[in-house]
């Protein structure tokens, strides 16, 4: 806090991100050796072209925009998974992304061991995990016959069980800032409902939430504020209703096609 103005939870200052496209996964060392005399043409793609954004504590902000507008790149920069090309990302407080549920699980380890591992990935100490353990299992498996499975290897779990366990761990990290990237599009209706409830609980606790979604119903329901990205720039930034209405009214593939995806 300085001078009565609340300190931003997330601040992006003239943030730019340029990708250099070159040999990727598909590349082979053999090909790279052979092309030493004929360097591959590098293609540069500017995905974010100068973003200024300030998000206050307790705000829930949705980022919308058509595919390729830079939504996920923005989220990755806030999560510190990418390094900015120029500009600055300032984050106050712990950040936890909701993972594609179950990434980081190991099939040969038991549920208990996976909870420990996954909790550590999300930045919890062992003591914190042990303190939360019962609560994590209770939230994930409300039936005692399912809860018993926590001592068996994860490969005996159904996909639904893995997803519930992953979500349960993620929400029990109670970060100051929660990043959500389309995760809620997966899962059945009951599970989505449970996710929404948890998001509302986060809002009541005054946590900051930054999420990316194509699902305008979802955006209207939870977001306080919407940032519309286009071609790597903020096109509009304002209260949910206004920005979503404008976004939906946009002709072409921008709204109609994308809105149906979610």
């Amino acid at each position: 806090m300085n001078g009565g103005v609340p300190e931003a939870s997330i601040r992006l200052a003239s943030l730019r991100k340029t990708f250099t496209l070159q040999h990727r996964h598909a590349g082979s060392l053999k090909a790279a050796m052979l092309s030493i005399f004929r360097p591959p043409r590098l293609e540069r793609r500017e995905v974010l072209r100068g973003i200024d954004l300030e998000i206050l504590p307790g705000e829930t902000v949705a980022i919308v925009g058509r595919n390729g507008s830079g939504k996920s790149t923005l989220l990755s920069l806030v999560a510190r998974v990418y390094k900015p090309t120029s500009g600055e990302v300032t984050v106050n407080g712990t950040v936890a992304p909701l993972l594609e549920l179950g990434a980081g699980f190991h099939p040969d380890l038991t549920g208990v061991e996976n909870v420990e591992l996954y909790g550590a990935i999300l930045g919890l100490s062992r003591r914190q995990i042990q303190a939360q353990f019962d609560s994590i299992v209770r939230f994930a498996f409300d039936r005692p016959d399912l809860a018993e499975k926590i001592d068996t290897p994860l490969r005996n779990y159904s996909d639904g069980m893995k997803m519930r366990l992953g979500f349960s761990i993620a929400v029990h990290t109670y970060p100051a800032i929660l990043l959500v990237d389309e995760v809620l599009a997966v899962g059945d209706e009951a599970f989505q409902h449970k996710c929404l409830e948890k998001i509302e609980e986060f809002q009541e606790r005054g946590k900051t939430i930054l999420f990316v979604s194509h699902d305008m119903m979802m955006v209207r329901r939870v977001a306080h504020r919407v940032v519309w990205l286009q071609d790597g720039l903020v096109l509009r930034d304002g209260p949910t209703v206004q920005v979503v209405d404008a976004y939906m009214a946009e002709p072409g593939p921008a709204s109609a096609a994308d809105a149906n995806v979610g």
Binding site: F19, L21, H23, R24, H25, A26, G27, S28, L29, K30, A32, R45, V47, G68, T73, S76, A79, R80, V81, Y82, K83, V95, P97, L99, E100, A103, G104, H106, D108, L109, E113, E116, L117, A120, I121, L122, G123, S125, R126, D181
Partner: protein, 285 residues
């Protein structure tokens, strides 16, 4: 240098996750079988038994050792550590790819954890070796054994250096793992595992090849130096008849300190190599 210490401080901040990754590697490794560690040490032991069988029957030099198998085992344990750690680490980052695309962590902790978990296995393997040495062969413990920890540390540096480079390259190039596997297959024969490096140095062809430089270059191989160092500090020298009447060269502390320095420099350079590339692992528009 200041940047390097900043990177290391960041690794230290993530030590809880690092320890969990080591625990995961060890649990997965020993869980896949009921016998755990015993089953894990079986392949190199069987390899040593087969090599002993083949060489004692098909060559004349192997039978002249007091215990040829101890010589092979003393080389096979460090060689297995090098191989499995580097191969495991080549896959390590890709296995965590879904995670590092979403969650921040200093990425070097992933190959580092693989290197450390393999190191723990390596340390336990030496217990088997010493049990064999003391209780079965009833060999004396030599005073040069005080150099053994130095060799172990040097090898840890070297293995970690190789793990960092290979794990990083494997993210960008899909054929790295296959190239490494082929090199390892060759290493079993090129490295002085089934024989002594002195046999190469004294061999009639190698001795005069390139004016003697070929033999010298052979001994620049850090793995050959390590293997030779382990044997000389733990085992009594073989009978001169093994080397056609030449006495084996004695244990050389200078070469051990040399390999420690070389491995450390390799580790620092590999870490810089890794850090220069680690941000590009997951970046794509």
């Amino acid at each position: 240098m200041r940047q390097l210490t900043a990177e290391l401080a960041e690794v230290w901040r993530f030590r809880a996750l690092f320890l969990q990754l080591v625990r995961r590697d060890l649990k997965v490794r020993y869980k896949n079988s009921k016998l755990g560690f015993v089953w894990s040490i079986a392949p190199p032991l069987m390899q040593v038994a087969c090599i002993t069988f083949a060489f004692k029957n098909a060559t004349t030099f192997a039978a002249k050792f007091d215990s040829y198998s101890a010589y092979v085992l003393a080389a096979m344990i460090p060689w297995t550590y090098f191989q499995t750690a580097v191969l495991d680490s080549s896959q390590s980052i890709l296995m965590m790819y879904g995670v590092i695309r979403k969650v921040y962590m200093p990425r070097e902790i992933i190959p580092l954890a693989t290197s450390v978990s393999n190191f723990i296995h390596f340390a336990m393997s030496w217990l088997v070796f010493f049990a064999y040495l003391v209780f079965y062969l009833r060999a004396p413990l030599l005073p040069t054994l005080v150099w053994f920890p130095v060799l172990v540390v040097a090898q840890f540096f070297l293995v970690t250096a190789a793990s960092l480079v290979v794990s990083c390259l494997n993210v960008f190039y899909e054929d790295v793992k296959y190239i490494v596997t082929v090199l390892f297959n060759l290493g079993l024969f090129v490295l002085p595992i089934m024989y002594l490096p002195e046999q190469v140095l004294h061999s009639p062809t190698m001795r005069h090849l390139w004016g003697g430089w070929a033999a010298r270059i052979y001994m620049w191989n850090p793995l050959a130096v390590l293997i030779s160092g382990y044997r000389k500090c733990m085992l009594e020298p073989p009978h001169p008849s093994v080397l056609g009447g030449n006495a084996a060269s004695p244990f050389d502390p200078g070469s051990v300190l040399g390999i420690l320095g070389v491995s450390f420099v390799a580790l620092v350079l590999s870490y810089a190599f890794f850090n220069a590339r680690k941000w590009r692992f997951v970046e794509r528009p």
